[in-house]
Amino acid sequence: MAGSGSRVRRYVLMLVLLGGFVLVLFRLVTLQVLRAEELSVRADRQHQKTVSLEGPRGTIVDRHGKVLAMNMEVPSVFGIPTTLESPAKAARQLSSILSVKVAELEKKLQQDRSFVWLARKVDPEQGRRLDRLSLDGIGVVMEGRRFYPKGPLLSHVLGFAGMDGDGLEGVEHRYETYLRGEKRMMVLQRDALGRTVFPKNLAERNPVPGHQLTLTIDEVVQYIAERELEDAVTRSRAKSGTIIVLDPETGAVLAMAVSPRFDPNTVSNLSPDRWRNRALTDAYEPGSTMKAMIAAAAIEEAAMKPTTLVFGEHGRMTVANTVIHDHEKLGWVSFAQAIQKSSNIGAAKAGMVLGEQRLYRYLQAFGFGQRTEIDLPGEGVGLVKSPSAWGRRSVASISMGQEIGVTPIQMVTAVAALANGGVLMRPYVVSEIRDAEGHLLRRVPSQVRRRVVSPETARSVTKILEGVVTHGTGAKAAIPGFRVAGKTGTAQQIDPGTRRYSNSRFVTSFVGYVPADHPRLAMIVIIDAPHDKNASGGSVAAPVFSSVGEQVLSYLGVSSGEPVTLAMAVPNS
């Protein structure tokens, strides 16, 4: 009896244990097999954090590596109104640090919301002061902010990036795909306190920063151009001004100055008109500067030689029932002299000898009426009508720079073609693209667009243009010790009231290159609407060319090569 009772107890115990094991097994199968996927997702949600990280925007540097634009992480301040005990007290404490009115902050902090921005992308120092304050319900997150450490320098070329880091103007916009950092989602493991432990996938890489752009611009040349332009615009009380400096051999832009300037760090309260790059967008009637190209076309086509005698009609010639005037009453002069004296009649006669079709062909060959393909956004095409739309006076008018609209970049590129022996180059501002580690990804080569005139013609025109400076209208463009070639331009502007050419509003300009025999610089200076009815390209723009040219040549270490006698020489070490 005793033995059977013990056996029963053993069976019961075994059954209980077996039942327990079955239950555990059932639970295990439920958790690990049947609900495995659901529970795994729930667990991941608790200890994983997915964050979107974006690499910082790439840096922009000048040709010597000086930083012109770069990103920096700066604090953005937010509030959690629902957790604040006293919004008024917090607003008072924040106001002095953030330089925002107390009332404005208080209004934000009293909202019935769980998150509100108080100030975005403030200075790092403000963030540090805020940290020291350590206010409950006020937090700081770091965001990338674009800095332009040189202020207004080169602002029209650099453009600017918006609050969200998108390039909106200039190089920032044109090279957006290169500058923008790579965006990447990362899954991080976190502990019970919410601290990040390590990425779930150790093979995951951090987001890649944007590429670095090296410009062809030289900060010092740009500074010289901007300073001289600002001086000239202020002095002549002009509406605006433009200077472009090119390397004529390559088309590399060394400086592009536009006045008035703007500071890309504080662009939000400016009108788009202020940040428009007039050097590319605005077409103007070039006036007499066009005569350099007309002379080149006429000589290339053997329609004229520099020595060909041209009758100046004593300063008055009738074309299509309208009268063309010269400011100097010329008789018989050589074609070279006619250009040097900026004779409208001489240029008109050269244009007439060329004829409509050849004139139009050369306008196109020099790049007028088409984009120069410079790597900046917003470039205009100017205004060149086809010969079918020309009137009876058009050939004469275009030859003296009227009835045609050109942009400053078109004009300087055309003159650079005369400087380099007759080849039209594509102007460009970005020379290299490197990754964030500095490895070269792409070097932008100079690009020939086409040959416009022969080297012989270019040399002939250079001699004529040298005469403009030595004994013509551009005497004030002379640079001591250097041979300067160039052409002045004084174009009447259309009076919006009368819709006729104004006698008091002009676009004055000078375009040229130096040294004339081996040009290192091609430059255009445009002063728009100087406040003087006697203003001319020779009196307003030419001195600026001289001043910028002399300083830039000196900075670039270009010597005149001419013997110099010094009273006393002091090395400038």
Binding site: M72, P149, G151, L153, F198, G481, M568, A569, N572
Partner: protein
């Protein structure tokens, strides 16, 4: 033999647990170093911006003219000549430009 097997099993368990704990510890260490790196990178960027801003040509020119009393050379005062190393014939020397000031011209301030 049994004891040896149990000890071996315990050792394996210990190694496994130690490895996991060490991974977590290193994970925290990596994160701390990453934060330090971020802070240092921010400082570096801040200094780069400051350096670039302080070395801007317009600022230097302003300091030179307003604080040091310097002035720009007038037109024609600054010329470049090419120096010829001694002993080299005039025709085939590597031209090295040297800046000199022609100081017999009156300066703008005169």
């Amino acid at each position: 033999m049994k004891i040896f097997t149990v000890l071996l099993g315990l050792c394996l368990v210990f190694v496994f647990v130690w490895e996991r704990v060490d991974m977590v510890r290193i994970g925290y260490q990596i994160e701390r170093l990453k934060r330090d790196k971020t802070v240092l990178e921010r400082q570096r960027d801040e200094l780069r911006v400051q350096f670039s801003s302080l070395s801007a040509s317009n600022r230097i020119a302003k300091l030179a003219t307003e604080q040091l009393g310097m002035s720009l050379p007038q037109q024609g005062q600054l010329i470049l000549v090419q120096s010829r190393p001694s002993g080299t014939p005039p025709t085939d020397f590597a031209a090295a430009p040297v800046r000199v000031a022609r100081n017999y011209l009156p300066s703008r301030r005169d």
